[in-house]
């Protein structure tokens, strides 16, 4: 065992390593019987320290613990020889959901950093946008699609259950002052419903939060309209983004 790792044995047994060091040491521990032996002994010694702070917990805690436990079941044993005693600990935040959202998260990271950039201009609005994204992220049915537009591209992040949507536009042409972009929710049957007007920043980037019932909405449209927006989209300029 290397000197560096030897030095970590005590701190590991005492739980005094940071996450990275602990991960590194545990990797080593799996293949070093000598270290494992020493860890066992030192961890026993460390555990003895808790005699010094021993105190009865509040009586009501027992019932609380047992009630919590009654609503949960023990995880199955590890079958492959991977059974660490070495603590699962990092909380499992519904891992499956988060994995499923990886793609969306990557996009949102971009979006959030873009919002962070604009924050100095309009901190409160940026916060509101971030909270929209958070709400979206937490929705079980969040989806993301990216569409190449005539110029630039648009990504839609949306949740039908949350009735929310964010359009992230990149590289969109900057419009003259007398024109604006307008977002539309489009269904197969009814008329398009306005999702609001927006203007990209000088680099052509924009994030547009919108909310509304997405039932039956299968496409979003982006059109160029006179400043102030229109009641119905100017058909010739509509760029369609499929949900």
């Amino acid at each position: 065992m290397t000197d560096e790792l030897t030095g970590l044995v005590g701190a590991y047994a005492l739980d005094a390593l940071d996450d990275d060091e602990r991960a590194m040491f545990e990797e080593h521990l799996a293949s070093c019987a000598e270290c494992a032996e020493e860890v066992r002994g030192l961890r026993n010694a460390a555990a003895e320290l808790s005699h010094l702070s021993e105190v009865s917990p509040p009586p009501q805690l027992r019932a609380a613990v047992l009630a919590t436990v009654a609503q949960s079941r023990p995880l199955p044993p590890r079958v492959e020889g991977a059974g660490d005693n070495v603590l699962p600990l990092r909380r499992n935040r519904s891992a499956a959901l988060w994995q499923g959202l990886a793609a969306a998260c990557a996009l949102i990271a971009i979006a959030v950093s873009a919002w962070g950039y604009s924050e100095h201009r309009d901190a409160q609005r940026a916060d509101a946008r971030v909270s929209v994204v958070e709400t979206l992220l937490n929705a079980p049915d969040v989806r993301a699609t990216t569409t190449a537009m005539k110029q630039g591209q648009g990504t839609l992040i949306y949740s039908r259950s949350e009735h929310r949507l964010v359009l992230i536009g990149r590289g969109m042409p900057v419009l003259p002052a007398n024109q604006t972009y307008q977002l539309w929710m489009m269904t197969k049957t009814g008329e398009p419903i306005s999702g609001g007007v927006f203007r990209p920043d000088p680099d052509g980037n924009v994030e547009v939060p919108a909310s509304g019932d997405l039932d039956g909405v299968d496409r979003m449209g982006v059109s160029v309209e006179p400043a102030g927006g229109s009641v119905q989209p100017t058909a010739a300029t509509v760029q369609v983004l499929k949900l």
Partner: protein, 200 residues
């Protein structure tokens, strides 16, 4: 609840008399969903767990909350306890310590955190263990053994354990090189292990 427990669990003694189940047996039963056994495990271990958590997080309400989380974790992980890697109590206390430190750290990070000065000068004095009056025999024994460490070893060990600091933070606090702290912690624990007769 005795220091002798470590020897007992390691010996694998056959159970002939109807004595209380060992902690290991309780964990095994809990892993099969036995809530009664788990309640027994709680009764036998919670003063050690809660007391340590309280020492680290300070606030009784938070300590209770963290302790509840710990026991849920222990229940969930009970089938994954591996006696080959050590006893129940060290395993449980490791989970507990990690959770307690997590709590302290998340409380800190919700304030301003990228400030070393704050870390070093915050009001989180570690208890000097010697000030405490303990009555249990085990506590007296541990205190004696701790008293036999060098002051530097004792300080490093208690800062890390009851202060919840990483060894890097301990080094900063004490203004000594990290390598020195590593050595103090390890040598201190070795000395405790040998004096307490807690074998691996």
């Amino acid at each position: 609840m005795s220091a002798m427990w470590f020897e007992r669990s390691g010996s694998g003694a056959t159970k002939t008399e109807p004595v209380a189940l060992s902690l290991e047996e309780l964990v095994t039963a809990a892993a099969r969903g036995n809530e009664q056994a788990f309640a027994e495990l709680y009764d036998q271990t919670s003063p050690r767990v809660y007391g340590m958590v309280l020492r680290v997080v300070r606030d009784p309400a938070q300590a209770a909350e963290v302790t509840q989380d710990i026991y849920l974790e222990v229940w969930r992980q009970s089938a994954r306890f591996d006696a080959d890697k050590g006893g129940v109590l060290p395993w449980l206390l490791m989970i507990a310590h990690r959770r307690a430190v997590d709590r302290v750290r998340s409380a800190q990070s919700s304030m301003v955190r990228d400030d070393k000065y704050a870390l070093l000068h915050e009001e989180r004095p570690y208890d000097s263990v010697s000030e405490q009056v303990q009555t249990s025999l085990e506590a007296q024994r541990v205190r004696r053994v701790l008293g036999d460490l060098t002051p530097a070893q004792r300080e490093a060990v208690t800062l890390a354990y009851f202060g919840g600091y990483t060894h890097t933070e301990v080094a900063e606090l004490l203004k000594v090189p990290l390598g020195t702290v590593k050595t103090r912690i390890r040598d201190g624990l070795i000395r405790m292990r040998d004096a307490l007769g807690v074998m691996a």
